[in-house]
């Protein structure tokens, strides 16, 4: 592992229950600083599990996880990453500003410092003026922007995103894709992004990691050499279509297209594992 690595996985496996489902098998992956890496694969390929192992929300059965040069546990304790889920998971009883300020509050920032940072984050996600709204007064896309602002509020070097735009409509999704790229470039953080969508993965990433199920493993890595910054035009370029084709082929090689779709199996296993 080089000192330049933000996430380093070595031989990571995960089995849910004793002799149960093998969610991940022998995963090796290195992610460098400033990279935008997408994990793509059909349901049950363990991509959400992998993300949570990086975040120390689940323990791997075997293997080595190094985040920011330390153990995943220490990285979590040091608040080295921000996480965004498919649902915005905002606290109803808090205003937008206080939702964004939640991690700062937990880290012991004083009110004055929090207010300044929250304003910066509102500007970053273009929600200035909405600070005293409550989450239920916002659209799904706006809620997800709040959730991204919250994840970035304490300036973590790593951003973990678990299908953050999966529940949004296509138009909102494409707009937020562009916005996320802008935020990523402004913040300079490293992003690990779980998605179901091939074109989203290609559009956003510097690297697409293709995974396949039963047992979950990495079956291919596609380097995305599309120029930065990307725009609405990017999707219309011939190179974009070629890369989408490459990812699709890698998925097919891994048996991704034959996999039975059970969207909730992995989630159920994760919840059971955490004893929540």
């Amino acid at each position: 592992m080089s000192a330049q690595t933000v996430v380093s996985l070595g031989g990571v496996s995960k089995e849910f229950g004793k002799g149960g489902v093998v969610a991940l098998q022998d995963v090796d992956l290195e992610i460098g600083p400033g990279e935008f890496v997408s994990l793509i694969g059909p349901s049950g390929c363990g991509k959400s599990t992998l993300l949570r192992i990086v975040g120390d929300l689940i323990q791997p059965s075997t293997g080595n996880v190094v985040v920011n040069g330390k153990s995943a546990h220490q990285a979590r304790v040091d608040r080295d990453y921000g996480i965004v889920f498919q649902d915005a998971v905002l606290f109803d009883w808090r205003t937008v500003a206080r939702n964004i300020g939640l991690p700062l509050e937990l880290a012991g920032w004083n009110r004055e410092k929090r207010r300044g940072r929250v304003q910066e984050m509102l500007e970053l996600v273009e929600l200035t003026g909405f600070e005293s709204h409550h989450p239920w007064q916002l659209s799904g896309g706006m809620q997800q922007r709040v959730s991204i602002a919250r994840a970035l509020s304490f300036d973590p070097p790593l951003l973990l995103m678990d299908e953050p735009f999966g529940a949004l409509d296509e138009m909102t999704r494409e707009r937020l894709n562009l916005e996320l790229l802008r935020i990523w470039q402004a913040s300079g953080s490293t992003v690990v992004f779980v998605t179901h969508s091939i074109s989203e993965a290609v559009f956003l990433s510097t690297r697409v990691v293709v995974m396949s199920p039963r047992p979950g493993r990495i079956t291919g890595i596609v380097d995305v050499d599309l120029p930065q910054p990307r725009s609405f035009r990017t999707r219309e370029e011939p190179r974009f279509a070629e890369l989408v084709r490459d990812v699709r082929r890698a998925l097919r090689r891994g048996g991704g297209f034959e996999a039975e779709e059970d969207d909730h199996e992995e989630e159920r296993l994760i919840v059971a594992e955490e004893g929540l």
Binding site: R79, Y81, I83, F85, H134
Partner: protein, 297 residues
């Protein structure tokens, strides 16, 4: 923008007055219907000489509503204060007992829920006994509570402190059960989020679990608010407390044959006290709970 606000303001005030007027009209309507049903049943029962077992409708078993109301404004005894003054003082006394009982019971119930929410073992072990505690009739418990508790009470809490304990006994249970459920109602993703921030159990409790439980807590407090009034009234009987509504009910019960309207009037005041307690909880809920509309009970 400013003009738009200025234009909207009067119509908003108008809307609010309209909503309030509709509420009042609805309340009066419901009261009128209840009054009508009462009087209709009384008229029907008397006209047909209806008998339900030993129950026979007449002025003694079912006085006129207007007689019950007017009793309130007659002297409670010869040259004494008006009945409504007597009952008002009694209601205040009972309210004091019920309020202390409610506060004790709600605090205790909440504390139990917090402890049980953090230990599956304790939850398994203790929950059955908490449930069992409520299957014992309050009338069987009340005299024992008085005997145990009263001698240990400081002078200021003599007698009525024991009554408050009985009210608390009825109050803690719904609060404990509902809060426990509410504390477990936090979104699993929200718990993951809090863990990703490496937050302490204490932070998770106060910043996530407790706020998430508030709709459940307030649903329980509404039940407990009225239960605490009932508990205080019942508790006054074995504690031989004369100053409250329980004492008044016992007293007027003895004179029921000659003055039935006084007991009815006392019941009316007791019901009003329960409603006041309930409305206070509703007001507190509106002030405290900030949740999406679909989460508010």
């Amino acid at each position: 923008m400013a003009t738009a606000v200025a234009q909207r303001a009067p119509s908003e005030a108008y809307e609010r007055v309209k909503v309030a007027a509709i509420e009042v009209a609805r309340l009066l309507g419901v009261l009128a219907v209840l009054w009508g049903l009462w009087e209709a049943f009384k008229w029907f029962g008397e006209a047909t000489e209806l008998k339900l077992g030993s129950f026979q409708v007449n002025d003694r078993t079912l006085p006129h509503v207007h007689d019950i109301i007017s009793t309130l404004f007659e002297p409670s005894r010869r040259n004494g204060p008006l009945l409504i003054d007597v009952l008002f003082d009694a209601a205040l006394f009972t309210a004091k007992e019920a309020a202390l009982g409610f506060a004790l019971g709600a605090t205790f119930g909440f504390a139990i829920a917090v402890v049980l929410a953090h230990s599956r073992l304790l939850q398994r072990g203790f929950l059955p006994y908490i449930v069992a505690s409520q299957t014992v009739p309050i009338l069987a418990i009340a005299p024992m509570v008085v005997v145990w508790v009263n001698p240990k009470m400081p002078e200021g809490l003599k007698d009525w402190g024991a009554v408050a304990m009985i009210a608390a006994y009825l109050t803690f249970f719904p609060v404990a059960i509902n809060t426990l459920r509410g504390l477990h109602s936090a979104d699993p993703r929200a718990l993951e989020l809090m863990r990703s921030y490496a937050s302490s159990t204490w932070s998770i409790l106060w910043k996530l679990r407790v706020p998430a439980s508030l709709p459940y807590l307030f649903a329980a407090l509404k039940v407990s608010a009225t239960a605490s009034v009932v508990g205080a009234i019942i508790g006054e009987l074995p504690a031989s407390v004369q100053d409250g509504l329980g004492g008044a009910i016992l007293n007027f019960n003895q004179y029921y044959a000659s003055a039935p309207t006084r007991l009815w009037a006392t019941n009316l005041v007791a019901a009003a006290l329960g409603i006041v307690f309930f409305l206070l909880v509703v007001a507190a809920e509106r002030a405290v709970v900030r949740r999406a509309p679909e989460h508010v009970a």
